[in-house]
């Protein structure tokens, strides 16, 4: 295998036998998976499958009860979440999570600033002009340029979701984790969001947690299916769609 081919297939994130229990409740059991650099990997499963728990392990929101997580060949198990962010793992939240009283632009600017200046109490932040310029680029990318001076809490739901993705992109992540980015969106907003994700995925590694299988079939390179906290199946969209176990899980409950 040549060096370039090796690079293309490189694994950016790997979990080895991770599990998470909350008290006696086993939310996630023994998941081993690999995520390739530059690919879009979707994690799907019915409600309560453990998708969000797995997602939270991947972004460092809490440590696994057992097993280990490896990012870029480094064991990152148990590191605090802000360290995950410094390494280049950015996430969006399932429930919209922005800085409500700050302007749209300041939301993104604060996201950018985390990589440059976290404890400087003296220099005026307006001097960090490159952050403001970069914030404006990101505002344009996620389609919020018009709303840049508005407080984030006054944005429509879909716009807040877009803002969140803009904030996640602010840290120039090597890995972008999106937790149900279309939750609660109108069909039109959903389409806009999926287009945005496709655009972003051209240049980045994306891991997407989604409840609706239909949404991710078209855009994913690989799909993991979780069920009752276990890894039920994994493969290309084609393979997953034809998998008997997956069909059984999604059967009976109408696909939304």
């Amino acid at each position: 295998m040549t060096a370039t081919a090796g690079q293309a297939n490189e694994i950016i994130l790997r979990t080895r036998g991770v599990g998470k229990t909350f008290g006696k409740f086993v939310a996630l059991n023994n998941i081993s998976a690999e995520f390739s650099r530059g690919a879009v990997t979707s994690i799907i499963g019915p409600n309560g499958a453990g998708k969000s728990t797995y997602f939270n392990l991947l972004c460092g929101a809490f440590p696994p009860t057992k097993g280990s997580i490896e990012f870029d060949g480094r064991d990152v198990t148990g590191l605090p979440q802000h360290r995950f962010a410094h390494m280049g793992i950015a996430k969006s939240f399932q429930i919209t999570s922005v800085f409500p009283q700050l302007t749209t632009r300041e939301n993104i600017r604060v996201g950018l600033q985390a990589l440059v200046s976290r404890y400087d109490i003296w220099r005026p932040r307006a001097r960090l002009t490159e952050l403001i310029e970069r914030a404006d680029e990101l505002l344009a990318l996620v389609g919020l340029w018009e709303s840049r001076e508005r407080a984030a809490k006054t944005l429509a739901h879909g716009e807040q979701r877009a803002l969140e993705i803009g904030m996640a992109l602010a840290s120039q992540p090597r890995l972008l984790l999106l937790d149900e980015p279309t939750a609660g969106m109108s069909p039109e907003e959903t389409r806009t969001m999926m287009d945005l994700i496709v655009k972003l995925a051209r240049e980045r590694t994306v891991i997407l947690v989604e409840h609706k299988m239909k949404l991710v079939l078209g855009i994913s390179d690989r799909i993991l299916v979780l069920h009752h906290g276990e890894l039920l199946a994994e493969g290309t969209p084609q393979e997953v769609r034809q998998n008997e176990a997956v069909k059984r899980v999604y059967l009976g409950q109408r696909e939304h």
Binding site: Q101, R105, E149
Partner: protein
């Protein structure tokens, strides 16, 4: 600087109109008001009190309004600043500037100590833990009679003249005393304005707005909180030190939880999380106290009633309400 850069210079909070101008020159405006302030006050001692409590509230507001944590133990920071300044003069014969530095350092270190123990708690728990710890500080100073004078307070902080590079300034003269203290308060407001406009100032507000989001963006929320609390301690320590110089005595009541409660009232009255709120709150509260206590010994009843009415009808405080009106 680009137009964009200028518009977010001081704060990323959405605002408009005249407020932009006021925000840009906020520290200079405070300085100008402080300089003419004693001319409109009935007597200078009241004006000095307003300065000192305004500064105390400024430090408190950094934690309460900007960071979003309600501390009920700020008396410990204010009081430690006062005691350390007083002790340096009474027991060690330090010059006035070293005593002020000791007060600032005292407030800062006490904030570090309390902060380390309390900072992981939230909401009402943070208020309770800081209050409990500040009560510990109260008893500590109460018991250390040899150093602090215990129940009688620390007496004999006599600074008659202030030596400024060979220039002897008469600190007994009330007007001169006012302007000496005003110089420190104005400097503190400039420093605070700078901190709020700094990158760290943005982090403080981000942590208040959304802790989880701040963490996901790559900020260490706990450390940010602790540093902010320590900075607040330095401002409150300075206020305490100036209070010791002004009164020539540090009463033990300075560490009482009432002193913690007072600053909460001042910040709420003026407008939490606003730059001018603390000073306005201190002025309104102390003038009210002064005017009403001339009429009746039950002044607390009336001031309390006015305070309740303010909180009920203007929850954003005096300055906060003005800002909100301007945005409509």
């Amino acid at each position: 600087m680009t137009e964009t850069a200028r518009s977010i210079k001081q704060s990323g909070v959405a605002t408009g109109g005249w407020y932009q101008f006021v925000t840009r020159h906020r520290a200079s405006i405070v300085a100008a008001v402080i300089l003419v302030f004693p001319l409109v006050m009935p007597f200078t001692a009241l004006a000095v009190n307003i300065l000192i409590y305004g500064l105390y509230a400024l430090g408190f507001n950094l934690v309460f309004g900007y960071l979003g944590l309600l501390s009920f133990g700020h008396a410990a920071l204010f009081g430690t600043g006062a005691y350390l300044c007083g002790i340096s003069i009474v027991h060690f014969g330090w010059p006035w500037y070293a005593a002020i530095a000791a007060g600032v350092a005292g407030g800062l270190l006490m904030a570090l100590l309390i902060g380390v123990l309390a900072i992981r708690t939230r909401g009402i728990y943070f208020a309770m833990v800081t209050m409990a710890l500040s009560q510990c500080v109260y008893y500590l100073f109460y018991q250390a009679v040899d150093l602090t004078g215990g129940e009688n307070g620390l007496r004999g902080i006599n600074v008659r003249t202030i030596d400024l590079f060979g220039l002897q300034i008469d600190f007994i003269n009330p007007m001169i005393r006012y302007y000496v203290i005003a110089a420190f308060v104005i400097a503190a407001f400039f420093v605070m304005s700078r901190i709020l406009a700094s990158p760290f100032g943005a982090v403080i507000e981000a942590v208040r707005e959304n802790e989880m989001r701040a963490r996901a963006s790559g900020y260490d929320v706990t450390l940010t909180r602790l540093l902010t609390f320590v900075l607040s301690g330095a401002f409150c320590g300075l206020a305490g030190a100036l209070q010791a110089l002004h009164l020539s005595i540090v009463p033990i009541e300075i560490l009482h939880y009432e002193t913690s409660g007072l600053v909460v009232m001042i910040a709420l009255l003026g407008g939490m999380g606003t730059f001018f709120g603390p000073m306005i709150g201190a002025a309104v509260f102390l003038v009210l106290e002064n005017v009403v206590s001339v009429w009746t010994v039950h002044w607390q009843l009336i001031v309390g009633g006015i305070f309740i009415a303010c909180v009920l009808f203007f929850p954003a405080g005096i300055w906060g309400t003005l800002i909100a009106r301007s945005r409509r």
